[in-house]
Symmetry: C2
Subunit: 143 residues, 2 copies
DNA sequence: ACATTTTGCTAAACATGTTAAGTAATTCAG
DNA sequence: CTGAATTACTTAACATGTTTAGCAAAATGT
């Protein structure tokens, strides 16, 4: 049944996200990671050495949240951090071998979950949805 | 500039939601309400007397979050609660006069913000996006 | 060079998200 | 009719979201 709030864009975005993330969360909890920790780990792995501000941008996190997440990931020894020598306000974050292993152990299953969603929805509609979402993200800025 | 994570559906959903909610949050903070408190208040106002389980469903909240939010709204005297006489596990939640006033004071501006988004995106694409999001919410269930 | 502003991050406080456990009222099986 | 599920919340614990404030390093203006 469709809830009566289904024509509210904010709630539709929320519901859709819950639907997509549910299975992914279940997968990651087996690896002892939250959804956000996983997102950060993937960004660091894909980009190589990178500073927190850029991680926050790519992973869509606010810096205060990211600060705590990086502390957790460092405790778990999945990443390492050092000060940037050129600009000592900055840090350089790198993934560790253990971090790489967690990615290797879970990436395929995670991609398969998204691929399944794409198949069930139909590739065309899935791409159309991504395009509309990106468009929405770009539009609102002016006025 | 488009972030490199823009073809990831979970992150695209997150970014789109942030874009839409930013201005609404700004509006509501003027009324001393969070986005979730506002959502609950609107559901209660629209539906009339209603129990927490249904509120959670309509507002897309988990019950533990809702429990705390209802406590806050009750402290602020924007809602009232009583036990259901037929089934004493249940509660019946109602909006108060003060709650109605907050809605009256902010509903128009809130709707205008969404209408602006709709105009900027184009009504057709906006509706197409809502349809795709609702479709995504319905699909994943089986298999 | 020096005071001011800006940048990059951290800390703190409060609210919510998420999962697991707990409680009381109701329903259900036998 | 009674003990075992089930239902409708609530509590607790930990992680993140959000805003505001703080701090140190770097850039900027004069």
């Amino acid at each position: 049944m469709m809830p009566s709030t289904d024509r509210s864009l904010p709630i539709a975005l929320l519901r859709a996200r819950e639907r997509v993330m549910g299975p992914i969360r279940a997968l990651l909890s087996g690896a002892g990671l939250t959804e956000q920790q996983w997102r950060v780990l993937r960004v660091v792995q894909e980009s190589g050495p990178i500073d927190p501000t850029q991680i926050a941008d790519k992973a869509c996190l606010l810096l205060p949240s990211l600060t705590r997440i990086l502390q957790k990931l460092e405790e778990k020894q999945l990443i390492s951090r050092e000060r940037d020598q050129q600009d000592r306000r900055r840090q350089v974050v790198q993934i560790s071998a253990a971090g790489e292993k967690i990615i290797a152990d879970n990436l395929e299953a995670s991609l398969e979950l998204m691929e399944r969603t794409r198949r069930k929805m139909g590739a065309e509609r899935y791409e159309a949805l991504l395009d509309l979402l990106n468009e929405l993200d770009q539009i609102d800025l002016a006025e």
